[in-house]
């Protein structure tokens, strides 16, 4: 069995029309690690996550999840991952609980397991009695919390979170961050997330890769990166590395 949950090597994605999504990136994610891809909009974060989530296929290079090739073994990969897209929604005419039930049904092997997933999902979402309300009545923050809950409650071997706090106000962003942090520490879930919020990544991640124009320009533990570049936080590391080119 491979020691890495994710192994990406020389990954290239060229979209129709010649636009390069990612341009030869390589990185690994270890078991139980929270790994963050950081970079500005259009850097290639979402493309990388979509390839790992088996939605897009790489032009060249290789991406493995638990040793399974994301192209060749896509159905197997889908069984062990759980993905939260940046612009995700939910069926607005279902209640929050029905939505969690809908998702749990795909992953649970038994009724007991489904019940356990639902209990954890409801707790993770933190919506109280509103979990029984129709999703169309939810605020953006409530919806995002529900979506983070649906992604994590199924105990994936790899959770892929694309901008988990995107578009949220400070209070909701903090709640989502706390929920992720608490859950992954308790359950030992491996997480690969993307964000352009450097402070969020510094707070959540064990290891980060700074992506710029489809390439990784720096990688390592957030604290070490900060020390190596003699600055006070990741934001300053990023500005120092690519600031002049933005």
């Amino acid at each position: 069995m491979t020691e890495y949950v994710v192994e990406v090597s020389d990954l290239v994605k060229v979209y129709p029309g010649g636009v390069k999504g990612v341009d030869g990136i390589s990185f690994v994610v270890r078991k139980g690690e929270v790994y963050g891809l950081i970079g500005p909009n259009g850097a290639g974060k979402t493309t990388t996550l979509r390839i790992l989530a088996t939605i897009l296929q790489p032009t060249s290079g290789r991406a493995l999840v638990y040793g399974y090739d994301v192209v060749r073994d896509a159905p197997r990969v889908r069984e062990i991952i759980s993905y939260l897209p940046e612009e995700a929604g939910a069926y607005k005419y279902l209640s929050g609980f029905e939505f969690l039930e809908f998702i749990a049904e795909f992953y649970a092997g038994s009724e007991e397991e489904k019940e356990r997933m639902l209990r954890e999902g409801v707790a993770l979402a933190g919506l109280g009695k509103r979990i029984r309300d129709k999703i169309k009545s939810y605020s953006k923050g409530m919806l995002r919390r529900l979506l983070v809950a649906k992604t994590l409650m199924v105990h994936p071997k790899l959770a892929i979170l694309d901008e988990p706090t995107s578009g949220l106000d400070v209070v909701n962003a903090v709640k989502v961050r706390e929920a992720i942090r608490k859950y992954v520490r308790e359950r030992g879930v491996t997480v690969l997330l993307s964000s352009h919020n450097m402070l969020e990544v510094e707070y959540l991640c064990d290891c980060v890769a700074i992506i710029h124009k489809g390439r990784i320009v720096a990688e390592g533990e957030p604290r070490k990166l900060v020390e190596e570049h003699g600055v006070s936080n990741l934001e300053e590391v990023f500005v120092k590395l690519v600031g002049g080119e933005l």
Partner: protein, 430 residues
């Protein structure tokens, strides 16, 4: 797999029942509209029929005969509760006379009417019907005027039958006829029945199915577009489920709703024709396919229709991948369906017998629309082309399934956005 399929199915049903957009636009409104339109038409026709009966309750008679049989006719009318207004004035303007008398029916019994009947010759009664409103009601008045003469005529036949002892059937119709249609060198049955069989099988039945196909396609496209509009499509693609199951559930739900729609539509139609317009007993019996169509016609039409439904659905699914929202999805499917609608009505205007074998073969290969050609081709002796037409739709469906499978299992399911590309291209050209 079955569990995941059931889960998706349950979600679809819940969404349809709860989503007013799906429920109202795709189901409730069309049904209410159909019910209201047919209900209104039925009510209007019933009222007009009643009015026709009322207005034909007063007739004018000009008795130029003044004989025993003309008196009998007038008594016959009165016995039926009809108010008979005798007119003896000038007939320069029949319209004005009828207007003045306030009647819609005017009978003129000519001189020698009684003499003709008494000497066993056919008598003649002339009648005029005043058409003013030019509505369905006036058709009823004409029917009543004619029926009264026919009933009187039957009475005379009955009394002659009693007097002479001749069978009534003989007196009414001494010569009978048997008609046979000859198509493609073969005697195939009663001409009227042949034509009505062809009309039914090549137009009415496929038309009902075609309405269903259009509805199903619209529904399937909308249902897939809703996934994108609700931003669930990306999540759905990463769930541990065979992607073809997603397609399968969408198609299954669309077909089920399509069938329900056609059944309800059919029930309303039957209610309208047999309930609002008259009882089923008053209608003529339908065509007997087995007597007039070559064996296998209905079977191959069935195969062709199943293939057509599947092909239409799969095309709809492929089209839905090119749309990002419900509006665009419906627009795209409408554009795709328009040529098919045109082709579908071709058999009404095309004389297949005058076409070369190559053209007939080409028509047999036109997807979906070819179903309408099957009975004509079969009757004309091109049995193999009828079979080809039926089976070709299955082949098209399998081809579309292969394309759908390829798309579903590649990134194209996510990246195919035709309209966006067109817009982008237009943007670049500006």
């Amino acid at each position: 797999m079955v569990k995941a399929f059931k889960n998706l199915l349950l979600k679809e049903v819940k969404s349809i029942i709860r989503d007013p957009k799906m429920l109202i636009a795709m189901f409730v409104v069309p049904l209410i509209m159909i019910a209201v339109v047919y209900g209104f038409m039925g009510l209007a026709m019933r009222q007009q029929a009643e009015q026709a009966l009322r207005e034909s309750g007063v007739v004018a008679v000009i008795d130029l005969d003044n004989g025993v049989w003309s008196k009998k006719f007038i008594d016959f009318l009165r016995d039926r509760g009809i108010d008979v207004k005798m007119y003896r004035g000038s007939l320069d303007n029949i319209g004005d006379v009828m207007e003045d008398l306030g009647v819609k029916i005017l009978y003129i019994i000519p001189e020698n009417f009684s003499e003709a009947l008494s000497s066993n010759r056919t008598g003649c009664i002339e009648y005029y019907v005043l058409f003013k409103s030019l509505t369905f009601m006036e058709l009823g008045i004409h029917g009543r005027a004619s029926n009264l003469i026919n009933s009187f005529s039957e009475n005379i036949t009955r009394s002659i039958t009693v007097k002479t002892g001749y069978p009534r059937e003989f007196l009414e119709k001494p010569i009978n006829s048997t008609a046979r249609a000859v198509v493609a060198g073969k005697v195939v049955g009663d001409p009227l029945q042949v034509l009505s069989s062809i009309f039914s099988t090549s137009l009415v039945i496929p038309l009902a199915v075609f309405i269903m196909i259009i509805f199903i396609i619209q529904f399937a496209v909308t249902s897939m577009a809703v996934e994108k509009e609700e931003k669930m499509f990306e999540t759905l693609l990463t769930l541990p489920i065979n992607r073809m199951s997603i397609l399968g559930v969408k198609l299954l739900v669309s077909v089920a709703i399509g069938i329900a729609y056609v059944l309800i539509y059919g029930a309303i139609l039957i209610w309208f024709f047999f309930g609002a317009m008259g009882s089923p007993g008053e209608t003529t019996s339908g065509p007997q396919f087995s007597l007039t169509l070559p064996p296998g016609t209905i079977e191959y039409m069935g195969v062709g229709l199943i293939g057509a439904v599947l092909f239409g659905l799969l095309v709809a699914f492929i089209l839905s991948l090119f749309a990002e929202d419900v509006r665009t999805a419906q627009l795209v499917s409408n554009y795709a369906l328009m040529p098919l609608i045109f082709l579908f009505f071709l058999p009404m205007f095309i004389d297949v017998s005058n076409l070369s074998y190559t053209v007939r073969t080409a028509l047999a290969l036109v997807p979906i629309a070819n179903v309408s050609f099957i009975p004509k081709l079969m009757i004309l002796g091109n049995y193999e082309l009828g079979v080809l037409a039926g089976l070709s739709n299955i082949a098209y469906a399998l081809g579309a399934l292969a394309i759908a499978y390829k798309i579903v299992n590649s990134e194209r399911i996510f990246t195919a956005r035709l309209l966006q590309r067109i817009k982008a291209r237009k943007g670049r050209s500006k």
